[in-house]
């Protein structure tokens, strides 16, 4: 099946980011396709390149980047939520006159239409939040 996931919370603050990750890994292992992972509300914070978690703990952000690369996943960070919370790619940085970008590899910033499209195109959509 084609499954999409929506993640509404940031890394570490809530378990949602971890549960979503484990769910996705299990789905991929079972041969399902992950159509899109859409990051909304504080979920956009899963896409910051600048995180430095303690060495003895999981690195949630790089974990997403690695998973995306390994399985060619579409990780989409909502532009409106990202603008509010300061998650920026190069084009957004230029557009809004910011002196840096901070998006992690494997993530792309796009509109809420991508969330609705994921609902339309997928067989199942699962939300992880708080």
């Amino acid at each position: 099946m084609k499954i999409s996931v929506v993640l509404n919370e940031g890394p570490y603050q809530h378990q949602a980011a971890d549960t979503a990750y484990h769910f996705i890994r299990a789905a991929l292992a079972k041969g399902h396709e992950i159509f899109r992972v859409f990051f909304y509300h504080d979920g956009v914070n899963n896409g910051t390149r600048l995180t430095t978690p303690p060495q003895d703990d999981r690195n949630i952000v790089t974990r997403w980047s690695s998973l995306a690369e390994e399985h060619n996943l579409d990780l989409v960070v909502c532009v409106a939520a990202a603008q509010r919370r300061g998650i920026v790619d190069q084009s957004e940085a230029t557009r809004h006159g910011k002196d840096a970008d901070n998006i992690a590899p494997g993530f792309r910033i796009s509109g809420l239409g991508q969330l609705v499209e994921a609902g339309i195109e997928s067989d199942r959509l699962v939300v992880f939040g708080d």
Partner: protein, 102 residues
């Protein structure tokens, strides 16, 4: 048409499980995950309500979340099936849609 409801908050913190039980239609399923797993344990004030609900809904609880919280599968209420992440995926695929009762 059967729905899967997920409940991720403790029933002692938030009313999500209560709301879920109120709206879930007979024949649908409820999967307790994250802090929601506390609702699955024997000996809580919810046992009566969950037992009653068990007559019309199918209950599941995520094993890894029980283990993380020091909860034993032995102490899970009768009628609630323990599943792992694979089982979670199967539940999502096996139901028509999923409602995250956050």
């Amino acid at each position: 048409m059967a729905l899967l409801h997920t409940v991720n908050k403790s029933p002692f913190e938030k009313n999500s499980l209560e709301t879920c039980l109120r709206i879930a239609v007979e024949g649908s399923s409820v999967l307790l995950i994250e802090d929601g797993v506390y609702g699955a344990m024997n000996g809580t004030s919810l046992n009566g309500a969950l037992s009653d609900a068990g007559n019309r809904l199918q209950f599941y609880v995520l094993g890894p979340d029980l283990k993380a919280r020091g909860l034993s599968e032995q102490d899970v209420m009768e009628g609630i099936e323990v599943v792992d992440y694979d089982g979670f995926v199967d539940l999502v695929v096996g139901h028509d849609a999923t409602h995250a009762c956050l």
